[in-house]
């Protein structure tokens, strides 16, 4: 073989390898895109339906071109119908309606204003007209551009403002060239109306996607996620790992994370939902804003959980008795507030007034109070600060979580009254002030059996065990009688007040 042949063979070989490599890369790319497409469709099959609906809406309005009587009437303006459908058709009914109304109203208003501007500009005569018109266009475009910076206008009317500016410019300026402006305006408005109507019709009549429904599900789902997390948290967190189990496996803790970034979806869904008519269980003026409020409180709670799970797992083997007691209290706090949240979520879902939520909240608050009392009074002879710390920190964060849960409950109650939720079974009386339950709780967390006395300070009740309360270094024997009469008791009464106001 000559060197030229060699060179040629080498060239062909390189070319072949390059081609093979490219084909493999292309195949990988295609496979990846196919996988992503499948995932997108599986995650929310409504996406596929939406795409088919969009195709249908555009095809329907395209047919206008083939109806000679209509096309003859509208002429080239027919394209505005197609344009409108393409631009207006959105995923949810609310978004479609919002864009359709924005487009229709803005076109009408701007058209009228444009004609007015054109008429005004004609007054001073043929030379002044172009100057006046350009001045009008400048002023209006500048003003509308500025109005688009207002957050409220941006959220609801941004598209309308754009169309307003567009139509005003087109009508006022082309008016100068075209004398048949009224006829044109009429045709455009009609075609835009037809396009909007087609989009809204397809959007509502074929598998409608209601933004309000989505918002309702998103918010109640988020509350439920938090509830699930809190219910399972303490059990998982304080569990002694079995064989082969890793303590580093925090995947069970990840469910709530999507809440941290749900603000945008909530905001846009609220905006869309406000355009929607009565549907399903929702009235026209359903209090959608209240969902935003609940959503932001839920997110606040998720921030605390984000801070909660950073604490390292406590060293169970090295645990002292007090650690076990704190853990019991934490488990109670977290489980009860989890139950309260799940109850709230199911109340939102079924649109009934929440019933036993307050009981759960009061239970968790009682556990928190008992814990605070325990920490304040227990001796620290048998534990090292650093060992108890993680557990105690979890307890402190859980207290914050409970405060959040209370606020969420409040705003769900507000929603229930605003949206006229159905009555469920009558609400149980809160457990605070029920001596029997408080007795049990105190017994559970103080680990002290036997009778407890209940004293009342400023109308709130608390339970004190008839046993020594130890403080670091010294041991102070206090009974409830002491508290009421003794001089040492004054301090204790102050402490009790602090504990009660907690």
């Amino acid at each position: 073989m000559s060197s030229v042949d060699h060179e040629r063979a080498g060239f062909i070989g390189r070319g072949w390898r390059w081609l093979k490599g490219s084909i493999v890369k292309l195949r990988d790319k295609v496979v990846e895109v196919a996988r992503k497409t499948k995932k997108l469709g599986q995650d929310d099959p409504r996406r596929i339906i939406h795409s088919l609906k969009a195709g249908l809406a555009v095809s329907l309005v395209s047919l206008l071109y083939y109806f000679k009587p209509l096309y003859g009437g509208f002429g080239v303006s027919t394209m505005y119908a197609v344009l409108t459908v393409v631009v207006v058709f959105e995923f949810s009914v609310g978004a479609t309606l919002g864009r359709g109304l924005n487009r229709g109203l803005a076109t009408m208003l701007a058209g009228a204003l444009g004609l007015g501007a054109h008429y005004l500009a004609n007054l001073p005569g043929r030379t002044g007209q172009p100057i006046l018109l350009v001045l009008f266009v400048f002023l209006l475009a500048a003003a509308v551009s500025f109005v688009r910076f207002f957050p409220k206008m941006k959220a609801r009317y941004d598209y309308g403002l754009l169309i307003f500016m567009l139509t005003f410019c087109l009508v006022s300026i082309t008016g100068y060239q075209d004398k048949e402006v009224l006829d044109l305006a009429h045709k455009r408005l009609s075609t835009i109306l037809i396009g909007s109507a087609t989009a809204v019709f397809v959007s509502i009549c074929i598998c409608p996607v209601w933004a309000g429904d989505d918002l309702h599900k998103l918010v109640s789902g988020n509350v439920e996620k938090l509830g699930n997390f809190l219910e399972g948290f303490a059990g998982e967190y304080f569990k002694v790992p079995g064989d082969g189990e890793s303590r580093d496996n925090k995947t069970f803790l990840q469910g709530y994370r999507s809440i941290l970034t749900s603000k945008n979806s909530e905001d846009s869904l609220t905006n869309f939902a406000r355009w929607e008519p009565r549907h399903g269980r929702f009235r026209f003026r359903h209090p959608w804003k209240q969902y935003q409020k609940i959503g932001s409180l839920t997110r606040q709670c998720a921030y605390h959980i984000e801070a909660l799970i950073i604490y390292p797992y406590p060293d169970i083997e090295a645990s002292a008795e007090i650690q076990r007691q704190i853990q019991d209290a934490c488990t109670k706090m977290s489980t009860e507030s989890g139950k309260a949240l799940k109850e709230l979520a199911s109340a939102i879902k079924s649109m009934t007034k929440p019933s036993s939520v307050n009981t759960h909240i009061v239970n968790s608050k009682t556990a928190a109070k008992a814990l605070k009392f325990l920490l304040k009074t227990s001796s620290c002879e048998d534990f090292v600060l650093l060992e108890v710390m993680p557990t105690a920190m979890v307890a402190a964060q859980l207290e914050e979580v409970i405060t959040c849960v209370e606020k969420i409950a409040e705003s769900v109650h507000e929603l229930a009254s605003l949206a006229h939720f159905k009555d469920a079974k009558p609400e149980q009386k809160p457990a605070l002030g029920q001596p029997q339950q408080l007795q049990q709780t105190m017994q559970q967390f103080s680990g002290i059996e036997g009778p407890h006395h209940i004293i009342t300070i400023n109308g709130s009740s608390a339970v004190l065990p008839e046993v020594p309360i130890q403080e670091c270094g010294t041991v102070v024997h206090v009974t409830n009688t002491d508290i009421i009469k003794g001089s040492k008791a004054k301090t204790n009464v102050r402490e009790m007040r602090q504990y009660l106001s907690f």
Copy 2:
């Protein structure tokens, strides 16, 4: 006066009151809108300039109508120039360029594809054509609607996809009616080009707003805000309030809060910045994605701060010696990490490589280690757990903050190398492993004067004071010699390892 007169007088009176009330309401509304407008303008004067620029761009392109030679050539297609300017002109150069390119490319591609579809549909003859065309439109609209669900496509090409769908439908269908389709396509493309060019010209040449600049400032500003917060935090938090000062006044803590919700701005600015050409200190392919990474780490840090400031102010009067020591450590940790962040922020701002950041980070980590050691070994005879808790919790959160700061520093270093930042003065050697400094720190936080011995386990160094280390209940005398030889020492070595791995 007759009863009719009375009635009439009452009616007039009511009418007058209603009118007065309405006028007052209207006046209040106008005043409020004026106030908001002024605030919008003052917050960012570029908004006013942008509005004027938008007005100018639209006016400029309107002039096309008055140039007879041009208008004669383009005819009604002139309106596409106006339409393009209105739709394409955005606040930043990047956004304007992105929309302009999207619009231009999508129109061209869709136009060509539409013509192809039209040609294909003509093949089977006059009856098959409308059916085929509507089928094409349906398929393309459905496909493009689905592609818009891909997050990456949505972020960068959403507008282009919309225009693509729009143009394809218009060209393929109107092609059926209009034989001069090539001429029309040429006119439309030219006017769209003129419109886009006008928008881009005005956007770049008159007071340009670069999205990249904004992103750069936003991210470095957020890092600086965190730094300011951390530098001032400990001082404010542990300060004993003077006369007339309220401890509940947490306004100084609010500066960082805007970081929590800055994700959206960062994401959209990054998308816009990627369209921008070389400007100022930024190359065409500046690593904008890295800013997103720094931004998300900053937000992570802000979440921890959000969790940090929920702890109640510690009760300074009741503070024990250990509390003062923990507070000193916290102050050091927070101040040093604050300094590190401010150094990073100014490095990003001046686009130089950060120099003394590592020293600050190592200082704060040393303080954290000393604190952990203190907590692990100190006796708890003279404090109540609940009193030390808030301070100890602040310490734990600060540890997390330091971890975050370290990650931020890493990604800023990465940015510096990706974007070829200028060299500053050479970086100082990290202080870890500098026995002198560690000695001082240990002395400062353990409160124990005198010589400390340094032992080395697995290559890391630590300092142990030559004094009794007390554990709760029992007192264990440990010297560094014990640690190295004794049997009791084994446990302590394990503990030391834990402490060192912390």
